[in-house]
Amino acid sequence: MEQPIERTQERIYHGLNIPSEVEEVRARARHFAEHEVAPVVTAMEESPERVSSFPADLVARMAELGLYRIPYSSEEGGAGLGTPMLAAAVVMEELAYYSNSIAVIYDCQCLLSGRVLQYASHELKMSYLPHIMSGRKIACVAITEPDAGSDVSPASIGTTAMPDGNGWRLRGRKRFIINAPVADFSFVLCTVDGSLSMVVVDLKQDGVYVSPPDRKLGMHGCLTADIVLDGAYVPATNLVWQAGKGLRIALGALTRGRIAVGASGVGMAQRCLDLSVHHMKTRRLFGRALAEMQHWQFRFAEHATHIAMARDLCYKAALRHDYGEEFPEPETAMAKFYGTQVAADIARDAVQVHGGYGFVSRLGADDTLYAVERLYRESKGPEIYEGTNEVQKWMIARQMFGR
């Protein structure tokens, strides 16, 4: 299992403007991550991606602990926090500290999916949101297609809805859909009458085929797969908001998602820093602790600075969202790209400072586990998903150049 070690967060970061209810959420998420995720993360990540390996227990426990209710208002049956997005970002950070697989499952279950429903009619919302918050059903959001990654435009989205009675039949293929192999329903971006729209599709029906899970570089605890829609039925009432609003809804959901993914980067980066500091203090070379080597002191001082800034950037984007900005830019784009970049940067140095131990997941001699090799693999994904970092930079540039 993952060993809890001294956290350096308090040494290098002082929060400002963080409400105490958010600190309470952090404590709850941290307790869960430390006592329930950490013990099983190695086993979870060592098994290849199979439907049977989905961490259903942890997903259910997050529901019991009320974590899926955090992003929602009391009226919606949620936790009713003053700064729900900030609290959700903190949950992501604490989950990703031990497992980015769990963090991204959380993201898809209640942040992306739930955000889509906030654009839906009261009736539609109330027929899905309670199941999301209770964890009784697993949700997913299907935007990406084999020939359209970050490019979300009507011309490039090939999934189409054809009228059939009081609803539609969907045809198309979605790719890299997180949670798809275990999900009960999916929000699907498709074209209705040639305009981008978002519909809710029951996945447990004929006309839906979910491929075997993809095998990935890291994050084996979360499953991605293709969803093939071959005439799946969608009742007209399952249209979110109205036809033509699909892109707006997707961007709205991805705004929350991107803040959350930035925060997951911060969590991974913090874990890398803590593991590295621990190692540097205990490992001796040439008669001195690694922590006495100026080269590593300066490298990790730089990383610590980057982590502190990335964390504030995510919190700032979240707070602006909580204060009413639907699209808090450029902070959201900055938080996503910078938070995830910092994680991959420090993961590389974390492996390096561990030397040979950074490259092993399990030492043959005594079965000791080392987490940094997993973090090295895990941290690369977030630079890509929910809009590659290049797309984020392009969004910042567009704001800057006024286009």
Binding site: R11, I12, A291, Q297, M309, L313, I396, A397, Q399
Partner: protein
């Protein structure tokens, strides 16, 4: 000359500064736009001699109450609730137009000012009040030819012996900002093996100020060596007590480090604004430079760095104003990262401007380019008030604990 749009208003959303500091920012920006911008070119390209000191502007800053920003009402200051936040935005806005001017402000009002707060009521009346009113020009004298970042009783050669009511001081100080025009300097020295801080009158007998150094940039910031030869200073001019010299110096540098970080932010923002303005207008390959994806993404990275650096500076200042007298590691982070960003951005900015970014003054029509000035100015910020490597040591100490730092 058309000034570029201030992208800070589009790209940055303040979530830290109290309203008081935001008001100070608006006020300083107006002052800079009206009083500094028209003279900025000259400030940034002059040749270092005593005549280059911007006396009129210095007086205008005094009249506008800029030197009172960090201080309480009892000595003629503004008595703000968040004085360091206000000083931080003051420096940022000054550096946006002229880093040399920002450095004059820092080395007049902030560093000696902070040291004088340790003085007796009489010292504050005689030195701090004229400093704030602008009737005296102040200097901070720490560095010596053989002592920069490494301040210890045996590296500081300036020393004094007591003779009745006076200290007799001998030594030499280096890179002393404002010295060629200064009236007094708060001076780190050694007495009986202990470090102490003293206010030395620069008009006193035994003082020689060397000719100004010629520098890469920050031209209007005049620096010089100061020789002290049997200079007699009244004992009442001692700040704090003997043995507290390093403490007082470091307390002053606490202010200095945060604001120097902010000076980097101001320079970086100015360079970014200039680039975007230029790129939107410069035609190339049948479009504009602004169409080139490479530069779009690269400047997006820089914009992110600038926002991060700004937040870090404000955070450090706010932590200080809320009572943390050593806001570590944020203060060190603010200093090193804010100034590094300026260096990164400046190098790119000159590249964007091409040959025009490299001219101090175009022979054909006398044009000057702000990015060229920033490229020259920015480097020193990575060095002074604690080189960035010193800041990284401080951060490493927070991270690892001091037992690992020899």
């Amino acid at each position: 000359m058309v000034r570029p749009t201030r992208l800070q208003d589009i790209l940055y959303h303040d979530w830290l500064l109290p309203q008081e500091a935001r008001s100070v920012r608006s006020e300083i920006r107006r002052f800079v736009d009206e009083e500094v911008m028209p003279e900025a070119d000259n400030l940034n390209t002059c040749i270092e001699d005593a005549a280059a000191f911007p006396r009129r502007l210095f007086c205008r800053m005094a009249e506008a109450g800029l030197f009172g920003v960090p201080f309480g009402v009892e000595c003629g200051g503004r008595g703000l609730e968040y004085p360091l936040c206000a000083a931080t935005v003051t420096i940022e806005e000054l550096a946006y137009a002229s880093d040399g001017l920002a450095a004059i402000y820092d080395d007049h009002a902030l560093l000696p000012g902070a040291a004088l707060l340790h003085g007796s009521r009489d010292v504050r009346r005689r030195y701090l009040e004229p400093l704030i009113s602008g009737s005296s020009i102040a200097c901070m004298a720490i560095t010596e030819p053989h002592a920069g970042s490494d301040l210890r009783a045996d590296t500081i050669h300036t020393h004094a012996v007591r003779d009745a009511d006076t200290y007799v001081v001998n030594g030499r100080k280096r890179f002393i900002t404002n010295a060629p025009v200064g009236d007094f300097m708060t001076t780190l020295f050694v007495i009986d093996g202990a470090m102490a801080m003293l206010v030395v009158d620069l008009h006193a007998s035994g003082i020689t100020v060397g000719p100004p150094d010629h520098k890469t940039g920050n031209r209007v910031q005049l620096t010089a060596d100061v020789w002290l030869e049997d200079v007699r200073v009244p004992c009442g001019n001692l700040l704090g007590e003997i043995g507290k010299g390093l403490h007082i110096a470091l307390a002053a540098l606490t202010w200095g480090r945060i604001v120097i970080g902010a000076s980097g932010v101001g320079m970086a923002q100015a360079a970014l604004d200039e680039c975007v303005h230029f790129m939107q207008r410069r035609e190339m390959y049948g479009g504009t430079l602004g169409d080139l994806q490479y530069w779009q993404l690269r400047l997006a990275e820089r914009a992110t760095q600038i926002s991060n650096a700004r937040d870090m500076c404000y955070k450090a200042a706010l932590l200080y104003d809320r009572g943390s007298r050593k806001p570590e590691p944020e203060m060190a982070m603010a200093k090193y990262y804010g100034t590094q960003v300026a260096g990164d951005m400046a190098r790119d900015a000159v590249q964007v401007f091409g040959g025009l970014g490299y001219v101090t003054r175009l022979g054909a029509d006398g044009s000057t380019y702000r990015v060229e000035q920033i490229y020259r100015d920015c480097k020193v910020a990575e060095i002074y008030e604690g080189a960035n490597e010193v800041q990284k040591r401080v951060i490493a100490r927070s991270l690892l604990g001091s037992e690992y730092l020899s």
